[in-house]
Symmetry: C3
Subunit: 470 residues, 3 copies
């Protein structure tokens, strides 16, 4: 599985041509790993350090010199040193003049300094060409070879020749460079490895809030209400029964929220009569994190599935089954079989399973390597057609679960309806609006708008132009 063949490699080059020499300042973990990897890929590596004590950890074949000696051996120098210690480079200004300095550093916190490390380096050594690169790659990944070609290395710098040299090295190491423009992009590139799931934050907090709300709601209805009215201790319901109400509700609501922004966007476009107006920021952000919302919803659906399958193992359920049978025996009541009840029970289970199956399919196709294999038409088919089918099946599952008792007043406790009734509001709204939107008359207008047509008469001329562009 792992490319272990890259771990140990021959150390000599008996080629007639001299290999390219690169210099690395700093013999810390990252410096050593980078040196090791470059050495493997055919480069001759020279380290710059204050002393050469820790040479046992360095790749054999590499040499360690003082900073200024090392700098003279190569025209490209990787600065694998913490920013706090950049000061000493000021003394080497002459040695570094005209050299390419590659800043690979990261800071522990976002926006810790007013300027990026790479820009700071460029100020310290004005005569050098500073390029930012490699900071998104970890020492461990470099050394263990746990990187494949799809790993991108963000590169930026003001001098395009210097940048090109660094990008060639990135490619030689089997990685993909991605030019990010001038050195001003370094701030972004340095912030990137410090982010913690920025796109997942909104779905996470939203689902946590939904879970909490519905948990409290269910506790009131299913634990506090019976305790107050009948003085019955149902606290044990908080372990399985209530989570198994909260999770499906959250899943269904989140799934509907995946499709709600698309519906809102369509209404906005119909209302404004053009697609050439930006959506409000909240809608843009919402649309960008639809995938994450959907995957969180899938997580809750998965939990719901297991919590449901575990039901017959629970002590409470087994006890109730025994108790029902015993009661029938004692009261000598008949236990007739109702086909309609069997239909009802089986159909909501079946619809739920099919919905869950499609949901899992959606989840699998959103794996990066799978969605990469699909063309745009296939991706749209999966995410839109199959997605709506999933929403329809899951909503039908909840509707069938309710069945007849849906809005019967006997189910109200302290005027609170069952939690799943609340869960149905957003999905049903989305489905109804979507149903209206796909009716031919409205759909055709929408299609024309999305192809560039505009309703305003005065702009009809330019619209004709707009229409001609992809």
């Amino acid at each position: 599985m792992e490319k272990t063949c890259t771990v140990m490699l021959p150390l000599t080059m008996n080629s007639s041509e001299k290999p390219q020499t690169v210099c690395i300042f700093g013999t810390g973990d990252f410096g050593r790993s980078l040196g090791f990897k470059m050495f493997q890929c055919g480069y001759s590596v020279v380290f710059g350090s204050r002393n050469s004590r820790m040479s046992s950890l360095l790749p054999s074949g590499a040499e360690v010199f003082s900073y200024s000696e090392a700098a003279q051996k190569s025209d490209i120098i990787f600065i694998a040193i913490h920013r706090e210690h950049y000061e000493f480079l000021r003394e080497l200004t002459e040695d570094l003049n005209g050299k390419i300095l590659v800043d690979v550093s990261n800071n522990p916190k976002i926006n810790q300094y007013p300027e990026s490390n790479a820009e700071y380096l460029a100020q310290l050594v004005p005569g050098a060409y500073v390029v930012k690169a490699f900071n998104t790659i970890s020492a461990w990944a470099l050394q263990s070879g746990a990187l494949d070609a799809s790993r991108q290395v963000f590169v930026c710098g003001n001098d395009s020749k210097a940048k090109q040299r660094v990008m060639d090295i990135v490619r030689a190491l089997g990685l993909t460079p991605l030019d990010q423009g001038s050195l001003k992009a370094a701030t972004e590139i340095e912030n990137y490895p410090l982010q913690l799931f920025p796109m997942w934050r909104f779905p996470f907090y939203l689902s946590a809030a939904l879970c909490l709300f519905f948990f409290i709601y269910c506790v009131i209805r299913d634990v506090i209400y019976p305790y107050v009215i009948e003085n019955k201790d149902s606290t044990f319901r908080m372990a399985v029964s209530i989570p198994n109400s909260v999770f499906p509700i959250t899943a269904l609501t989140l799934l509907a929220l995946v499709y709600l922004p698309g519906v809102i966007a369509a209404i906005l476009q119909l209302y404004q009569g053009t697609k050439y107006r930006r959506f409000p920021d909240w809608l843009d952000h919402w649309m960008l994190c639809r995938k994450q919302l959907g995957l969180v919803a899938l997580g809750f659906a998965f939990l719901h599935a297991i919590y449901t399958l575990v039901i017959p193992i629970r002590y409470y359920v087994r006890w109730r089954m025994r108790n029902t049978t015993l009661t029938k025996v004692i009261t000598k009541k008949d236990d007739p079989f109702f086909t309609s009840t069997a239909w009802h029970s089986d159909s909501y289970l079946s619809v739920g399973i099919l919905g869950f199956f499609l949901f899992v399919l959606l989840g699998i196709t959103s794996l990066p390597s799978v969605s990469n294999m699909m063309n745009w038409r296939e991706f749209r088919f999966i995410q839109s057609k199959l997605g709506y089918l999933t929403l329809i099946l899951c909503t039908a599952h909840a509707l069938l679960y309710g069945g007849k008792r849906f809005l019967s007043p006997s189910i109200l406790r302290w005027y609170l309806p069952s939690a799943y009734v609340l869960a149905l509001i957003i999905p049903c709204t989305v489905l109804v609006i979507k149903f209206i939107l796909i009716m031919p008359c409205i759909n055709n207008t929408l299609k024309r708008i999305r192809r560039g047509w505009e309703r305003d008469s005065k702009s009809s001329k330019s619209a004709l132009n707009g229409k001609s562009d992809i």
Copy 2:
């Protein structure tokens, strides 16, 4: 998760060297997204348009000119315009002379025009070097950065220098260009994004047909038969019981059909005594979609697993359990425990679970990113050894499920055997033939044939040559 750092980027290049300028004709969604992305990656972007009204949507820093003005600013021009509007380029023939024109267009339908858009463009502007590229990338993916380095961009064109220029731009955007040859390949490249799962069509229709057939078969045996003979309403079985017969049968049949073509190919090679004869087309096509067949089978197996686990929650099953107990109470019959029944019930469950587990493992290893990590020997081990083990376990699961009552005549209804008996035909056939094929005498002949040996005496000389090639 998402490379959000690419969304906002610095807009100035304070490099001493002038960045390369590219020109884009058309300010539609794709033109703008492409411009935005190229701008991010350090290019200077110029738009050509009839008017400059919609400039608010264009990346700031980009300039909009008339077509002929814009064309003069760069020697590489992206034509982000619908094919229907190419006509106007005829007037610009002089401006476009000697320029590289990149055709990024797609058509709404497959084979809509006699020639590809790129070839049409080359006819319109004979003095330009036309290159087809980027049509498989969506505007949305370009803008949102939801592309990684493993995304391939198909490129074709008659002039290799022009093609090289375009491929360099593709690489600079962090994508992988794939040279597809001359401009005649444009037809294929333009059809590619219009395909809808071409490899999945056969497995999909086949499984749909199998499902339908077995569903009707089961309805006749389990619903119509009891209704006719005993006047019993068992329609509710159509919701869970019958799907849970149909899905495993379809899964097992499809899984066997994954291994059948390999067995047929081996027999053909043994019969013909050479591997240097093409297989019939149907066999070739069948072999190419084995992976898809297997994944569809896995889907059905997954459904079978959930439908089975849901059994004890069903109203019908709970009622039957209560009923059995009540009957025992009333008739005061003893309820002895049979170890053999326990063995039988537990062993078919256990074998089924292990088979399903291996099946899921096979599915995971067929994910593109996972199979990419494996070498050829590992891939073969998984898909062949583990695959046959899965088939053996799943067939054993069905055989054990049947148990003693397998072919007892009492199980026939209207001369129809149980559905699972039909399900066993293909898997058992495949396993028996495979068992014969791996017997040393036959296996050795097969191995020799696959290494290039031929049975015909007259070709033995050339076979010797053939043997020497990989």
Copy 3:
């Protein structure tokens, strides 16, 4: 899904520039597939062969010549011939002088010959530049296009210009070349496709040994003991009950073993007072296969989940439920409901489900394409924080399962405690040590050591230097 558009492609190049010509020696499967692929990507392909009989299988448009004729047509020659037949190349030494020879061969066994095939080739034809490449790619994958850009091609050779030429061809075929240095690396590269899951061997054997040990342990306690003491036949337990004890125990033990080496490493670092000393080899190897250990553990956890969910379908369980009810009816005993038992049963189920859910999440994030999307901080968060949470939940699940009867002597059989008690030893140990390690006083020392600080006073000066490096 599949890039079928690459299957059939135009055969003519009407470009004014002549396409580059490559020569392939050998018309076997690999030679043909390689020629086909290169032809698709715009190269002109010439085959060298002893005769041209099998031309029907060759890509149309390609020409077949004798070896020496073919060699004259191109300066780059792919040797798609088995090593045993290299001898004849000796006769062509003059034709091959100064040419680039690409060795694509593989051997059937690891270390079959004293030197690698590529080095042998270099000895045979001393005047040629030998480059090793493409041996990790299969003929089938080349022809079917089932390769994406993340597939790496290892390349090595002594002449960097020749290597560069080959790497350009690799890129043109849409693959990623990875320079592995001089021709001495060829041995490693040739061994790579012959490996069979080297990183999975230790986890596999370890888990097999654990399974076997616990299976025998459980058989003694649950089958032999009741047979000897009560003369009761419980052999049927070996099908489901005992596996369902063995699998969770193995899963929990393996999961704990994923986190044990990290804890040992921390203790070693604390004890040695430095991070600049290599860990013992066994610890290094153990740390490198943590991911594989974790995935094997997930497999067992998955099996445990299904074996558990299947419980209520088992004949034995159904019989026992009926039996319990019947006994209650006959003895007319009351069947009171214990809230505490309900709490206990529900809470261990709930904790187990949540633990399994997190475990599955960990497994998904270890998919190559998913972990590639994460930055280092996100990856650490998932694998460390979420990993420990999973371990805590799974350990709690086992502890709660035991409940009160944990160490009651009545549960001992032949002085053997229940198997799950043994399962808890390693997880509890790991969690207790980890808990001690994260206490502020110890954690701070550890953090300083990991930032380069050393306890030894004499090396404090160099430590200061070390601290400055990344």
